[in-house]
Each structure stands twice: as structure tokens, then as C-alpha cells.
Amino acid sequence: MALSGIQIYKLLPASSKNPEVKKHANCKECGFPTCLAFAMKLAQKQAELAQCPYVEEESKAQLEASAAPPIRLITLSADGRKLEVGNETVMFRHEKTFFHPPGLFVRVKDTQPDAAEVAKAVAGYAVEYVGMDLTLDGIAVEADGGDFAATVAAVKAASSLPLILLTEDPAAAEAGLKAAAGVRVLLWAATPDNWQAMAGLAKQYNAALAVRPAETDLNALAGLAEQVKNAGVEDIVLDPACRDFRTSLQTFTQLRRLALKHGERRVGYPILAFAGNDPLLAGQHIAKYGGFIILDSFSPATVYPLLVLRANIFTDPQKPIQVQPGVYEINNPKPSDPLMVTTNFSITYFSVANELESSGLPGWLLVADAEGMSVLTAWAAGKFDAERIAKAVNNNGLAEKLAHKRLIIPGHVAVLMGELEEELPGWEINVGPREAVDLPNYLKMQWG
């Protein structure tokens, strides 16, 4: 829970019972005139606690705990690519939104001759979806008895992506961490057997550290996280040691509830999930609380739908993605080419625009301001009615721009035809197909 300025003031030197600390009251070394002024700035997050050299350890711990989000934000990075995971605040996206999409990683082994090639393919993969370029986030390199350091170095050189190092052997881990110099990696895993050595390495090489108990057990997991935290590791990731649908869903849900609804700091970290080769399991992890998700192989036919699912689930439900209302020219239309109208919901717009573009047929696409709703939803809500469509036609000067007066409306709103003919005297209203995918055929058949 965040503390107020007054609560923070009670933890600063001016309020200390220790004379050695109290003597620094209002010393101004922090850059503020008094401890109270500093406390107020801290509460507003406009100052850093480190600016006070005299704050007591116990106070420091309390202040830091109070400022921490319930699920710690973990940052991995490489060569300008940054991945932030955590800091979520709700169980269900409709309650507010999910903030940080989980990182999607592809696993390669150090015994795999094409590890660097796979890494390169993963790094080079991008797919366009509603105007966004969707990409994968990193490579998980597994020590499997090969030359781990060389593989890490090769993957790093080939991909320039954040890395997860998969090994329980501290010697291999250190070799991998050295080879990954310059990349902020996630090291997996600290176990009940090796946690001291792994925590030491995570500290030394500034890596995030995943903890994995011997079996799925909340207390074993929390205990292990607490141990590595006490050993000085801040950036912790939880691997609750479940790999199947049912246990993963239950355990990830429990961990999220504990962090968000029970203030349980010991498990207030993102979750690492292994999806194997099952796109459905990866899909579950995307929707239900995975933080870092490792896929065992890379295939465009699998990662494309997963990246789209991630984009969908992590869309802010209060802000549907919209496109600017107006007239869009597709494939250099002439004044004699067809005019179609749709709404400004991005998915609607892109469905229609993509169909037209890929068909090569020229046309004018009029995008009416339907407050970011799809055709049917907007129509039901009265945001895509005859009046609005007529207004869009008139405001965009289409009667002047075009050599014809024919308007194609989406098949789903065929009922608007009569009203539109009244609103737009002199215009011929044509009912187009219901689905964008049928538009090219419709145009070929109907537009002569």
C-alpha cells in the first residue's frame, strides 16, 4: 500500500528516536528545505529515497515495501530491445486493463546445431496486425550438455534479443552469463539445491532470477523467493513447477490473487510458464497470468495467432483502437470507382481495407465516426445510423469528389437503405456483403 506524506515523514530523520539520526533532521542534504517537504515529494514520487543519506535501515525497508507494486516489474533488455513484465493490478481485463503483455520466448538447446539460425529467424519475425508490427521477445537458451557459452554467444550475436538462460548448474550459468554480457537476462532456475550459488551469480551479473521449487507448492515457492531475496536478489520470477493446463491455471490464478488481493509480497513477481509445443497451452498462459512464456519451437503458423491473441487480451477495454474518420483512397481510385462506407473501429477498418488492397481493386473507403465500434455494435448503439452516414458523405464532399452517386453500405446494416435514400437525396444506396472477405467478389460482380 502506498504511504501518505505524513506517514513517510514519521520514518525520516526528523521523526527518529535515535539521536545519531535525529541530529540530521532537516539537514537539507536531500535538496529539500525540510524532512516534511522531502516526505511530501516522496509521496508524490517526485523524489528518490536515496537522496537522504541518513534514513534508517528499518525505515528504508518499510518505505521501499510500500512503494513497490504488488507484482514487481521485471525488465529484460538487449541492444535497444526492452521487455517489461509485471506491474499488473487486476484479475480480469474488464476491471481495468492488463498492462504488460507477457514476453514470448522460443527455446533452443546448446546441442542444437541450428540454434543461431532459429534465433535469427525469431528475431527477424514480424507480422502486421491492425497497423501494428507484432514481434517475439527473446530466446531461451538451454544448457543440454553442449557448449553453452558458445551457443549463448552465437544466439546473442544472431538475435540481439533479451535472453533466458535455462540451467540449474551454476558453472554453466556463469559461463552463459559471461557470454551474454551486455544483455539483461533472466536466469532459470534457482532451486532448493542451488539457490545460494544462483543468487550469487544473479547479483554478480545483474540478472533476473527465476526460482523453482521441487514441486508445485505455494509455500515452497514463496520460501525460495524469500531466500534469494534475502540473499540480495531483487528481480525475481516465479516458476511454480507446473507444466500442464489444469495445475498451471489453478496455481497462476492463486499466485495472482495472493499478490493482488492478499498483499502477499513473497509471491509478488511475474510467472515463468513453459508451453512446450502446445499453442493452446501458450494461449492459456497469455490470457491467464503468464509473465514469460517459453515455446519449444518456432513456427509462423503458431506464433502469428498467439501474438494476435496477446494483442487482443492486452488491449485496453476502455479504449478500442480507432482509426481517424475520413475518406481513405485504396489502390489509387479514380472518380468513377466505387465508394464504400464502414466504421472507424480499427479491426473493422483493417478488415475492409486489407480485402480491398489485396484484391487490387481501386475504391474509396469512407470511414464514419462510429466512436470506435464495429458495424453491428455501432448500429445497435445508434452510432452508425443513416444520419451519421449521410453526415460523413456530406462532410467529406464526396458528391464533388466522385463522378457518381452510389454508396455501398455493409450488408449487416441493409435495413438502413430506405432511410439513407431519404437522408441522401439523389444517391443510390447499394447493399454490399456482410463480411469484408466477400467484398472483392461483390465488387467484381456488381460494379460495372
Binding site: 514463496a222 520460501g223 495472493l258 499453442p279 491467464k288 509462423p300 506464433v303 495467432p305 487482443n312 477495454p317
Partner: protein, 316 residues
Amino acid sequence: MSAIAIPVEKWSGKVREVTLGATAEQGGTRTKTVTVGGETTLPFLHFEGQLPHPPAIAVEIRDRPPADWSPVLLEAWGDVVNDVTAWARAAEEQGADIVLLQFSLHHDLTADYARQTLRRVLSATGLPLIVFGPGQADIDNEILVAVAEEGKGENLVLGVCEDKNYRTIVAAALAHNHMVNARTAMDVNLAKQLNILISDMGMPVERIIMDPTTGALGYGIEYGYSVMERLRLAALQGDSMTQLPMLVTPGEEAWRTKEARAGEGVPAAWGDWAERAINWETITAGTLIESGADIVVLRHPESVKRIRAMINALMN
């Protein structure tokens, strides 16, 4: 260090249990019935409530070979699409729990034709049936009234009931002891309202399945997903008119996307066509199962297999 207890939440509500189909003992001819619903917690959280029935898989078949289906689908089913009885048998062989007979819109679609088609499908499969009209109010009403009468005793699910057209279908279902599917456009209040309207006609709520509609992956799935989560939360919190099992049609939605239909002229980053298309259907369906779907209607046999494996993994 204090021990961490498993965070269990208390829910006061329960989703109604609904049974589709009727065996000979129950006055029908089905070899099995399918019961869904009965949940007292969120999907698959076995540690805090009862989940007595796995979500069921319905497979959509058509009375005519579908003119606009993706070649990937047509190839997977092969010749059976030319014969509704063969298709019904194939659906059962491929692991369907329920067969959904979707009538296509064509000139032969009369009440008599619908009766005959229903007879043929009933004789071809022992699974419970859902029967949907082509989605044009006057024709839906005409053929569903005939189907309700012809299928007396079979405990069919008739659809689609929408706020603009539900009375005739509900009356036919009431008269012949069938159930109905109530579809609304991705909105919690619209869903409740239609359930109320239908139950006001005297239809017991136990005989309504609600269909909150979904978008496909990439085409608005997040709206359907969140509406379903909200409906299920409301049900568990005790809101009676949301305590109905949910049916959604991820097959139909996914297979009309360009990703599922287009094999050529698409970006290389989309990957192998058939695999991408099946992933589109299964990831849409799987995500909706996680948000509370009790019945998913699928189209591709491979999708049935994969979704079945997922359901088994979540239940057992």
C-alpha cells in the same frame, strides 16, 4: 514465516445444469444425452468449487455442401459434405458430443424438407442435436416450427433466438418440449434481457442456453471474452438471469476470417495455411473455454481433437 493459504473465494451462485437430447427411456431416440453447466466457481478452478461437467463440443454440419467454406475445411471432411447423414456420422466418429445442424439458405428449404432432413440426421447419429435456421426470420420460424414438431421427444436445442425474432421459436420449443439458444451481441445486459423475455413466455430457464456471441481471434475476441467473464462472474455472484450455460460459435467466426480462408497472396509471416487456420479456430475456442464457454461449436475435425485434449487436461 507465516504459511501461505490457498486463496479460495466464496461464490454464492451456481450455473444451471442443462441436459441436451433424450434417450429412449426419456421419450427420444438419442443413444446418449449431454449435460452442461452446474459450475460453482470460475472455469477449471477445481480447488474452490464444483465443475461437474466438462465443456461440450458441438460439430457444425450443413444440409447442403457449403458454398463459402474454406478449402481447408472441405478437404478435411471430404465427400461427406455432400450428404447430411454421412456428415452427421462423420461428426460423431470425429469425437463430437453434439451435432449442430445448420440449415443453409436455398430454394428447397421448406418445412417438409426440414422435417425430412431432421429425420435423416436423427437416424444417422445418436448424439443430441442443435438445429439452427439460416438466420432469416420468416424462414427460421417456418422450418423450426416444423423441426420442433417432427423432433418431438428428442429434446433438441432450437435457434437462433434473437431479440428481434424469438417468439415463434420459443413457442414451438415450449409446445414440443425442446430447448432454445438465445443469442445477443456481446453485451451483458442484452443477454440478461433476452433470457428474461424468453422466460417470460413460460420457458423454464433450465431450457435456455445463452449465446453471448464472440468475435474470432483478431476480430474482436476480446469483447466476447470479457463479456463471458462478466456473465460468469455475475452468475457466481448470484444473478439468476446469468446462471445459464453459454454456447459460442468459434468455428463459424474463425473460419470466416481471411487468416482461415486465404491460402495465397498473404504475408509469409502468416505461415502454413492449414495449420494457421486450425490454430485460428482452436485458439479462439480454447480462449473462450477459459472464459466460461459450456458448449463450443467447431468446424474442423482436427480442432475437435485438439480442443478435446485441452478440455481433458483441464478437467482431469
